[in-house]
């Protein structure tokens, strides 16, 4: 198993004394979607900014493709190119009133020739489905459209790891499945490793290959979604909950004594369980 990015006992304390990261360790497998669950203020944003060199870790190390990352000034541009961060609020990320120019920013900063910048911008806009928005000012876009523009602005740098902070926050249900579909496509077609922070429990079993639970600046638990959901008490201690379907399975099993698998967290898994019970009952 090869890891695209690995974090080893990272610590970071803000100037005001807030200990945001307290010896955090985790690894994201290459070409997979890794979810980081954490309630508000768990340290997700600080972790991400440490991983792409906007903040410099005070202890521990980060490994990219197995190589320790250098935080020396001259190595930072390459680190930021390889590890792209999509911020939670697209209004924090989109600084230009022109969609095309905003998307081009990261590629221009890499010092690429104009034709290559244009090729990447067209490609990123095509992939994220925002080609039709090029003739609109940023402030006329909807929230979901701004999110796509923000993702395109990171894609032009052709990162190997893409980190998204709460990619589904503030979107309607259709918008959530569209964005998650887009992320899967980015993973499958471009082979980009995706790390996403969320507390939307229902998208975890559908889209994540591996999950970490972040609390108080440390990883308190990790595993496949099924592993993590089989310990609901840890989730609840950390202000999270089970996905709705997994919760239903838990109640069926605990209160009603029905013999269902507690790890069924998606509609398709639940359907299989129900069909199995029906067949057995027959």
């Amino acid at each position: 198993m090869s890891y695209a990015i690995e974090v080893r006992s990272l610590t970071y304390t803000y100037a005001d004394g807030t200990k945001a990261l307290n010896g955090i360790s985790f690894a994201a497998e290459a070409g997979k979607v890794t979810g980081i669950l954490g309630s508000n203020g768990a340290g997700k944003s600080t972790l991400f900014l440490n991983m792409n060199g906007v903040l410099t870790p005070q202890g521990g190390e980060v490994l990219l493709d197995g190589q320790p990352v250098s935080y020396a000034r001259r190595d930072l541009p390459e680190l930021r190119r390889k590890v792209g961060v999509v911020f939670q609020d697209p209004d924090d990320q989109l600084f230009s009133a022109d969609v095309y120019r905003d998307v081009s920013f990261g590629a221009v900063n890499l010092g690429l020739p104009e034709s290559e910048v244009r090729r990447r911008v067209e490609d990123a806009m095509e992939r994220t489905g925002i080609t039709a928005l090029r003739d609109k000012p940023t402030h006329a876009l909807s929230y979901g459209q701004k999110k796509r523009v923000a993702i395109a602005g990171v894609l032009v740098m052709e990162p190997s790891v893409m980190i998204l902070d709460e990619p589904t926050a503030g979107l309607d249900p259709q918008g959530v499945s569209d964005i998650m579909g887009l992320l899967q496509e980015i993973r499958d077609k471009l082979g980009i490793t995706i790390i996403l922070a969320t507390h939307d429990m229902d998208i975890i079993p559908l889209y994540c290959d591996h999950v970490y639970l972040l609390s108080g600046g440390r990883m308190v638990s990790d595993g496949t979604p099924e592993d993590v959901f089989s310990h609901p008490e840890i989730l609840r201690e950390n202000h999270l909950r089970l996905p709705r379907i997994a919760h239903l399975m838990e109640i069926l099993s605990d209160r009603d004594g029905v013999d269902v698998s507690r790890s069924a967290a998606t509609i398709s898994a639940a359907r299989q369980e129900i069909l199995r019970l029906l067949h057995e009952g027959r």
């Binding site: 911020f87 924090d92 230009s96 022109d98 120019r101 000012p137 006329a140």
Partner: protein, 259 residues
């Protein structure tokens, strides 16, 4: 921003902004320095037609925008035309409070009319630029015309974040109003103060986040981006020359006919 909406729909949207800037500047300067009613009216008419025919603007939109400065101009020009006139010969006069003689003289009327026509001509020239050039293209053009980068970048950031701040201020105001924050003068003043300080603090926080986001995308001190591909607008220089020639011909003809 109404003009920006039009600019993104304009037929000249993808034309290089620099010829547009020079076109506007040439027509504007001649209109202002010709100091002539007829040239002013011609500029108003010609640029309005160009706005509709070349820019593809809707007549209704254009009239709407031309109406905006009208109220200021009418009031301003009336105060030029109607003033204390002493014993001068007047077209119309009255005594203010029974003592001071106020009214309109032929000279003042001409002056008022001149200012009005000049201003409307100049405004229509500016509308040709602003209804056909998105703001971001304009700042890009300024940069290419060697306006210091610092100013250009500030303009771009201000233009982008003014909408965010206005939106935020609007939401805070609604929240305050729904708790009766604007009942009575004293309370209104207090609520407005709270609103302003909240917007200020929030924009500081946002500034920090924007900076982190810029750094994440490789920001090293300059907001260099690549604009979409423009179609060259050299034909606009021809149009500028033709319009300017018409303006000057009209000016000469006027001077000849009306000594």
């Amino acid at each position: 921003m109404g003009t920006d909406r039009c600019a993104y729909l304009s037929r000249l949207r993808n034309v290089d902004p620099i010829p547009k800037v020079w076109f506007t500047l040439a027509v504007l300067l001649i209109c202002v320095f010709a100091d002539s009613v007829v040239v002013g009216l011609f500029t108003l008419a010609a640029l309005s037609v160009l706005n509709i025919v070349v820019g593809g603007q809707r007549t209704g939109d254009l009239l709407h925008f031309l109406k905006v400065p009208l109220a200021f101009l009418i009031i301003g020009c009336l105060t030029i035309a109607i003033r204390p006139i002493g014993q001068a010969e007047a077209l119309w006069a009255f005594r203010l409070l029974g003592r001071w003689r106020w009214g309109i003289t032929a000279e003042n009327l001409r002056l008022g009319l001149l200012v009005f026509c000049k201003a409307m001509g100049a405004v229509s020239a500016m509308y040709f630029l602003s209804l056909n050039t998105p703001m971001t293209d304009l700042t890009m053009a300024l940069e290419r015309l060697h306006v210091p980068k610092l100013f250009v970048e500030l303009m771009e950031l201000i233009y982008r974040f003014i909408f965010l701040l206005a939106g935020e201020a609007g939401r805070i105001k609604v929240a305050q109003e729904s708790r009766l924050g604007y009942r009575g003068f004293r309370r209104s003043m207090h609520s407005m103060g709270e609103l302003l300080s909240t917007v200020f603090v929030r924009s500081l926080h946002r500034g920090n986040r924007v900076f982190s986001a810029l750094e994440s995308r490789g920001y090293t001190g300059s907001l260099t981006t690549l604009p979409g591909q423009y179609t060259p607008g050299r034909w606009l220089y021809g149009l500028a020359a033709a319009t300017a020639a018409c303006q000057l011909l009209i000016l000469i003809a006027e001077r000849r006919l009306l000594p």
